[in-house]
Each structure stands twice: as C-alpha cells, then as structure tokens.
C-alpha cells in the first residue's frame, strides 16, 4: 500500500512533483519532468517494508566446510552447527534435510534467510539415489507454493519457501568430477539453480586450481549440465557480458572461516597455518568475494526471479498437465471444499 502524505500547505501552491517528503522551497516548475522515475523510490520503500526472503540449500559431503562457508557469507552464525550445538559430528545413516531460518538486518533492509542443510549426503558406502530426498524436498516446496497459489482464498503474500539457490560443494581432488557429483548436478540443474563451488580451496596451488576448474567446466559441458547463470536465460547483451565473465570463473574456489586474525594491522577473517595466513576476502587468495558478490550483492534478485519464473513455472505446468490427464499415482491437486476451480 502506498502511503499518502498530506502535502504541507505553502503560501504558494506546491509544484507538481513527487508527494513524498520532498520539500520544495522554491516554486520551481519543471514542465518536462513528469516524475515516473519516482516509482523506484516507491518500490524501494515497499521492499524495505516487506523485507526479503532467501532460501539457500547447501549440498556436499561432510567435512567440506559447508557450515563454515554459510557463516562466512552472512557474517553471522547461521549454520546448523552453530544453532544446534552438538559437540560431536556424527554422520547420519540417511540423508536428513534440516532447515534453519534467521532474520538478518542491515541498514534497514531486513532479510529472512533460510539455510537448508543436507547432512548425510554422499557419506555412505552406497550412495545410490542419495539425491532423491533432496529432489523430493525441492518439489515439495514448489507444491506448497502451488497449492497456495491456486487457492481461491489465497494470502496476499504467499510465504516463499522455494529453494532459490543450491550451492554444491565439490571436494578439491584436483583431478576431475566424481560420478556422484555429475549425477547429482545433472538431475538437479533441471529443477533449481545450482552454483558449484570448490570447497576447501586452500589445498590447491594456483596452477592446480586452474587445471581443476578447466576440467570441471569441460565435464559440465560434456554432460549438458547448465549451472547458474544459465546461458539460455540471459535477457540482453549487458546480462550476457556480465554472465559470461562469471561463467568463465565457475566454479569458484572458496575458503571459509569464521575466525578473525590480525594481518597487517587489520582484523580479517582467515585461516592461520604455520606457513602463512589465508585471507578469506582477499581475491589473490581465494574467490570467496566473487561468490558473495554473486549471491548477495548483484545476482540475488536474478536468482529469485529465475526460480519463480522458470523453475517454478515448469513445475506448475507439469503438475497441472498431470492433473488434467488424470495423472497416474500422483495425488491430484487438492482443492478446498469451498472452492470450485476449473482447470483449463
């Protein structure tokens, strides 16, 4: 809702212009200025009031630094381990999906961040079909949203629990992708935005890192895996240029840390070893800064848009078609008793 401010009465009638909080001391009337660009300001206010939602899923074997990276990205203890303080890290026998939400605020902007963790992925001896619980979870979130959307009496703002982005952690072997990685990414790149990262990148020298990245990119291309930013969703030339630069750098080699050390008189996040200190935000050391910029500073809205306009729509189309053809063993769309919705 737009708030209308009652204009302050001047002796001279106020000039035609934006009604919000701008006091024109001098009666300047600009005939060529209509004021459409003020919509940006309105949107900004609305967004700040509403707040943002972001759902990130982290997938990878245990011990790859997923929780640490999440903490580093949002500079606060948002990971599962920080919240559930368990001293021991026991590998669960089956894959669990644990979802933890936090409210973060910065400069008046509020964000509801949900980190979805998947402990137990890829840790067993037999990892056949370990991606299934994850796919089911993602589809369930789409389903919940769809149910709410087709409701007749639906909420003004549908709570968005869809997974916007899935960060996949690749172990730093330095050689090539493992069969498990390829399988997982192939299946999930069709339903969610995947951002692959090389975990614990402080184990690779720069030459090894470049070689590894090249191998990974080749394998992704060879297997037809489209990771974020997807080529087909580039809207215009400008997007394409920016995204091409990003695509040349994927996967990002990241190092996470939530401990601060003193380096050159500054306190920085890093890892201290006997032969040097790795600075997390130093671009010469690792590519964490690029990942953070991609996820938060520049492409967050784009990620959410792609999720809702493309992945979710694909799911919706598939689901509604299934329902129409009297789909097999999938439960038909449940309609509320009070509603009669005709599906064309």
């Amino acid at each position: 809702d737009l708030e209308l401010e009652i204009p302050v009465l001047h002796e001279v009638p106020p000039p035609l212009g934006p009604l919000y909080g701008e006091k024109h001391s001098a009666p300047v009337v600009d005939f060529s200025y209509v004021g459409i660009d003020a919509i940006l300001e309105q949107m900004r206010r609305k967004a700040m009031k509403q707040g943002f939602e972001l759902n990130i899923m982290v997938v990878g074997q245990s011990g790859l630094g997923k929780s640490t990276l999440m903490n580093t990205l949002f500079k606060s203890k948002v990971s599962r381990k920080s919240v559930l303080a368990t001293a021991q890290e026991k590998i669960p026998k089956t894959i669990e999906i644990k979802s933890i939400s936090h409210d973060i605020e910065e400069k008046g902007v509020r964000m509801k961040l949900t980190v979805i963790d998947t402990p137990g992925f890829g840790d067993q001896i037999n990892n056949e079909n370990c991606w299934q619980p994850i796919m089911r979870f993602i589809n369930d979130q789409y389903e919940v949203y769809l149910q709410e959307e087709i409701n007749i009496d639906r909420k003004k703002r549908i709570p968005d629990s869809r997974v916007h982005c899935c960060i996949y952690f690749i172990p730093p072997t330095g050689h090539c992708l493992r069969p498990l990685d390829v399988e997982f990414m192939r299946r999930l790149s069709k339903v969610v935005n995947i951002v692959p990262v090389i975990a614990k990148a402080d184990t690779l020298t720069l030459e090894e890192r470049d070689f590894f990245k090249q191998k990974i990119r080749e394998e992704l291309r060879a297997n037809g895996i489209d990771v974020y930013p997807q080529k087909e969703f580039d809207e215009d030339e400008e997007d394409r240029m920016i995204n091409e630069k990003i695509r040349e750098m994927i996967p990002f080699a990241v190092v996470g840390s939530d401990q601060e050390y003193q380096v050159n008189g500054r306190r920085l996040l890093g890892r201290k070893t006997k032969w040097g200190t790795i600075e997390v935000e130093n671009i010469a050391h690792c590519e964490f800064a690029y990942l953070r910029d991609l996820l938060i500073r520049t492409h967050m809205q784009n990620i959410k848009d792609i999720t809702s306009t493309i992945h979710y729509e694909m799911y919706r189309v598939r689901r509604l078609n299934e329902n129409n053809t009297g789909g097999g063993n999938i439960s038909p769309l449940q309609l509320n008793s009070s509603s009669t919705l005709e599906l064309t």
Partner: protein, 450 residues
Amino acid sequence: MSVTADRSSVDSCLTAVFSFTAEELGGLRGLANLPNQVYRKSVKRGFEFTLMVVGESGLGKSTLINSLFLTDLYSKDYPGPSQRIKKTVQVEQSKVLIKEGGVQLTLTIVDTPGFGDAVDNSNCWQPVINYIDSKCEDFLNAESRVNRRSMPDNRVHCCLYFIAPSGHGLKPLDIEFMKRLHDKVNVIPLIAKADTLTPEECQLFKKQIMKEIQEHKIKIYEFPDTEDDEDNKLIRKIKEKMPLAVVGSNVVIEVNGKKVRGRQYPWGVAEVENGEHCDFTVLRNMLIRTHMQNLKDVTNNVHYENYRSKKLAAVTCNGVDNSKVKGQLTKSPLAQMEEERREHVMKMKKMEAEMEQVFEMKVKEKKQKLKDSEAELERRHEQMKRNLEAQYKELEEKRRVFEEEKINWEAQQKILEQQKLDASKSVSQWLQRVFTCKFKFNFSPLTCCI
C-alpha cells in the same frame, strides 16, 4: 719341485687369510662379527618391499609415493591412475629398482585406482583383499614346493590408507575397509593433503580418528617396543602423532635462500620436510629408515601365518564332520589324503550299487507295463472281433429280409402285369365292337371319340 711350490703358495694364501688380528675379526671368538656377515649377505642379495596405497582418487597418493622415494613413478609421460577415471576398482602394480649406497631395493608399489570413487562403493575392498590373499597364496605354494630355490616375496608388507581431511572423523567407508584389512596386512592410516588443516584442526582430527579406531577395535600397525630407551622415546613420540598428517610434493621451491620441497601458495610455502608443517619426515623415517624390516617381519610372522593356518585348516577340515575336528589337525597330510581316498572309493561303490538297484527296478516296471499293454491289446482285439461278428449277423438278417421283399415285390409285379394284360385285352375287344358298329352307321362317332 711342484709340490713344495704349491705348498708355499697355499701357505701364503693361508697367511693372507689369517693375517687379520684377533680384534679385527671381532673379539677372541669372532662372534661379534656375525652381524657384519649377515649384513654383507643381505646387501648382496638385495631387499624387496611391497607397499600398497589405498584411498579415494585425488588424495595425493601418487605425489606422496614420488616424494617418499624421490622418484618419478608417475611422471607426465605415464600419468598415474588418478588421472584416469575408473569404472571398477582395479589393483595395479609397478616395480621400481632403487639403488643407494650399494644397497639395492626392489620396491613394488600397488595402487588401487577407483577405490571409493563410484556412487555405490559396496565391496570395493574385495579386489584389494583378493590381491593380498593371492600374493600370500603364491608364497604358500612356493614354500610348500619340493624345489624351492627362489622364493620371491611379493606379499604386501604395508598398506598406507589415506583419509580425506574432512576435519570431522572417519567415514563409514574408511571404517569398513580398515576393519576388513587389519588382520591381513599392516595398516598405517595417514591424513592426506594435510595442508588443508590448521594445527588445531589437525590435532582435533587426529584425536577423533584415534578414538574411532579404538571404538571399532581396528588394529593398526603398532610399533614394537625396543630395549633401547632412546628408541622408545622416539617411538612414543611417533605414537602420539598417529595418524600421520602428510603433504607430498616433488617441486623444489626456494624459501629464504634455501631450496626446499614444498607447495607454493599465494600466502606462503608449505614445506614437505618441515616437521612443523607436516609429519612427512616422520613417515619417511619410520617407513624406510627404521621400521621397514619390522614391517616385513610382522607381515611374515603374523599376517602370513594367520593366512597359512586358516588356509591349511580349511583344506584338512574339508569333507570331515566337525565333531571329529579335534584329532584331525595333527594328522599328517598323507594319512589324511589316504583316508580321503578310501572314503571316496567307498562312496563311489555305494553310488554304483544304488544305481544298479534303481536300474533293475526300472526294468521290472517297464516289463510289467509292457505285459499290461499286451493284455489290453488282446482284449480289445477280442472285443472287436465280436463286434464284427454281430454286425455280420445283422447284415445277413437284413439281406434275408431284403430278399423276401424282393420276391414279394416281383410276385406283385407279375400280378399287376397280368391284370394289365387282361385290361388291355378287354379294351381292344370293346374297340373292335365299336368299329363294327361304326361301319354300320357313319364315321361321325369316331371323330367325336377322338
């Protein structure tokens, strides 16, 4: 004269041999010189050592081997198995001859590419176990042969197991593998790519691993206690550092004017041979410089003997009832074999008798069947004959009836013909009368008649 000349030469030889003083030959009795003799013999013979490396691909196994033995076992021309993706677990063997200071070592490196890399890794340890058992079997066969001049020792003396530096604990695969192999070969767990861990993380990780190893009762290789106190202290230090955290590299980098082997990062150089950076030197000293012989001994005395007794016990217990086990193991194999042969012959005889019985029974049955069918056929034959006779009689009856009818009919026909004749006679007589009347009167009635 030749005899005296020979004797003098022999004398000079002998004096040459015995010109060593008593001290030089190691004490009055010369016993102290025995180790030297052993030493010289071994050096001449050369040493053999087989090392197996197991771990997921990308953990730096090839690099570590290259660093340990300062060779390029896996060079750019012959890339190691890690560069190639494997579909199933393979066991590959490479031999290298290393010479140093007059000592010759035939080093065999056994690699296991594909271990733990697939999506489903159940039983990925089976090829490894099969390999180890086959090498032990080869040695057992060579040992049991009549002519055993050369007994090459290809048994696996040591297995280095690489643990991924997750920082948390052992993976289920690690535990399974070590549990299955700890009584077949000396298992030494290592933390691979240890430059990923900070010193604190490394400590925690090591503690966690040792705790889990004890929990699951895994018997890793234990260093033997020696009498020497100094050595004991060293050994205790090594034990505290288990599992060893290693970093491998063959690249030489210059640090502070010194040339060292290490890995160059933007934030510093991780030196391979620096005791503070990683435990590589400890591993190398332990494996090559101090405990190589002990590893071989433990393999020979413990693991191989285990295998041998299990294998031979299985052979003797084969086909014998378990309740008679007590006395069997001490019987000589020959007697055992004789008994087996006798049993076997008896079994064969029994089988033969049984088969004959069965055969006879079958023959009887068949005969009976044939008789029965013969009787059956006879019966049918009789029945058919009777049927036939009955039909014949019927037919005769019918024929008789038919004949009678025929006679009757013929008789009737005759009567009919007679009647016809009579009738025609009377008609002609009447016609004659008419004509005569006509002639008396005019022809008109005739035309009317016609």
